[in-house]
Amino acid sequence: MVEFPPLGPVMPEILMTGFALLILVLDLVIKRKETLAFLSVAAAAVVMYAVLGTSGVTFSGMFAADGYSMFFKLIFLLSLILSILISVKYIAIERVNYGEYYSLMLFSTLGMMIMASAGDLIVLYLGIELMALSTYVLAGFIRHAVKSNEAAVKYFLLGAFASALLLYGISLLYGLTGTTDIKGVAAYISDNGLAGNPALMLSVILFVVAFGFKIAAAPFHMWAPDVYEGAPTSITAFMSVGPKAAGFAAMGRVFLIAFASLQVQWAAILIPLAIVTMAVGNIIAISQTNIKRMLAYSSIAHAGYALMGVIAGTPEGLAGMMSYLLIYAFMNIGAFAIIIMLRSEGFSGENISDYEGLSKKHPVSAALMLIFMFSLTGIPPTAGFIGKFYVFMAAVNAGYTWLVVVAVIFSAISAFFYMRIVMYMYMKEPRREVELTTSPALGLALAISALGVLVIGVFPGRLLDLARIAITLGWGL
């Protein structure tokens, strides 16, 4: 008889599974779907509380609830809560008000949590699949819209392709080292001097491609604009934050632990990747007329910035990347919340020209959008500046000053398209009447994100400390 491993460290995941299933069942009896949204938020809050109280490794190292994963889980749950809050009214307008929507979101978050905690490549892979499969369905949730269908199919096909590459990478790694345990892989590589082996490099390349797809880094970003545009806006907000952060979480763990002795090699691959990503994201975003597409390119560019934290390869770099992703969750979902407000019955509100003169009729919304756009650009009193600052600092300290210079130049280019929205809102006359769709939930989401952006912008020290503590707490577990 084998003794059963302790379940404590997996408690948040078990709770999440239970809640997701519960909401699936309650959908049968509860006719008002808003209640389900409320329950989902409550569930996420409970899980968040549970996450804060758990730590430890279980199932013989397959699952690690360390500080690193805890921080990421907080990002996922936060983006889950914000995304649910902005969804409530929106999915009713889109006429896809099904209970499964919330359940799938919870499952997707569960997949991310498993990814962040995975101590074994098989668990990591299954976490990715759980997250991705739910997101594919959510992207195609507006079944009667061709664009949404297109988004789902594109996302699915390319996602499946990336999964296949990841599996190939894992299988090579397993053949080389005889284990799928992330720590075991690292130990075997350093003990047997495998670091220069071309077969191992092939595996690393395959990992880079697969993770590059998940975080939408160029040149594996092709799916992102179409999927972000076609998917329901609330889901676009969700998947531009959650899955991306989860991809970074997995990437950090695999590259900095399993491939720790190969740092020179993978950094050499990731640096051009980061530069191309920033270039593609920031330059193509300029020519976009659809705001969802524009934010898709902007999200590609932000992946490039966050990638620099991984490239730095130091705990400081990781802490910078983590805090960057948290800040990005606030500002990006905030911006999407404003986009959702413009969507009303019979009016998509997705064109950038729809923002012309928004400040005249709706000064508060315009001001909030201004904050988010400033933050996305990285202009000082907002959190976006702090995020970029930490990542760039870490990169400089790790000796990549020239890379930071490149990133700053691209950052300056990005001001062009972010500020264009601000210019449209404040310096143009309204061309048509724009009615805003508001709801208490949406208001709450906006308040949380705006507060997050401003508070972190003004008092940044606490966040980075938190991220640093998280890393030192858990990294060695």
Partner: protein, 170 residues
Amino acid sequence: MLPELFFYYNATVITVLSALVVTRSNPVHSIMLMLVMFFHIAALYLFLNAEFLAAIQIIVYAGAILVLFLFVVLLLNLKKELVTQIFIVRWPLGLVAMAGLLVLMFAGIKSFTLGPTGDFTIEKIAGETHTAAIGTVLFTEYIVPFEVASLVLLIAIIGAIVLAKKQIKT
């Protein structure tokens, strides 16, 4: 000698059949070729003494998944596909990319060294039967992946139902 021959036969057939599967213009023929390919994969499992996996390969892939493929294909109207000669216009580009990838892969694989092997030797599996061995490992050591996989399948079911649901009326 003979085991090698058996392996090379299967490997070659699998490769050739996979190429045929993606190049046929009639999807039904593709599926039938894929069926034959699955048999060869099952044979490879048998070759490794993994009889349970071989049976599951046939039951799940050949008997369930591929039949569903067939179903979908049969429900489509294939008139256009049957007369189309070239599906991808820029196929030379794809060919170049593929060749490059292949060279890269071979360059990497060439220096592949086998890591330590596990403790499930042929004798051990023969002793406790493959089904028992895989069951024990799956429900003890790999219980977490096993449970997560069950959730993945659940999501697939939910997703299929959601996407096939009737639209909400206004």
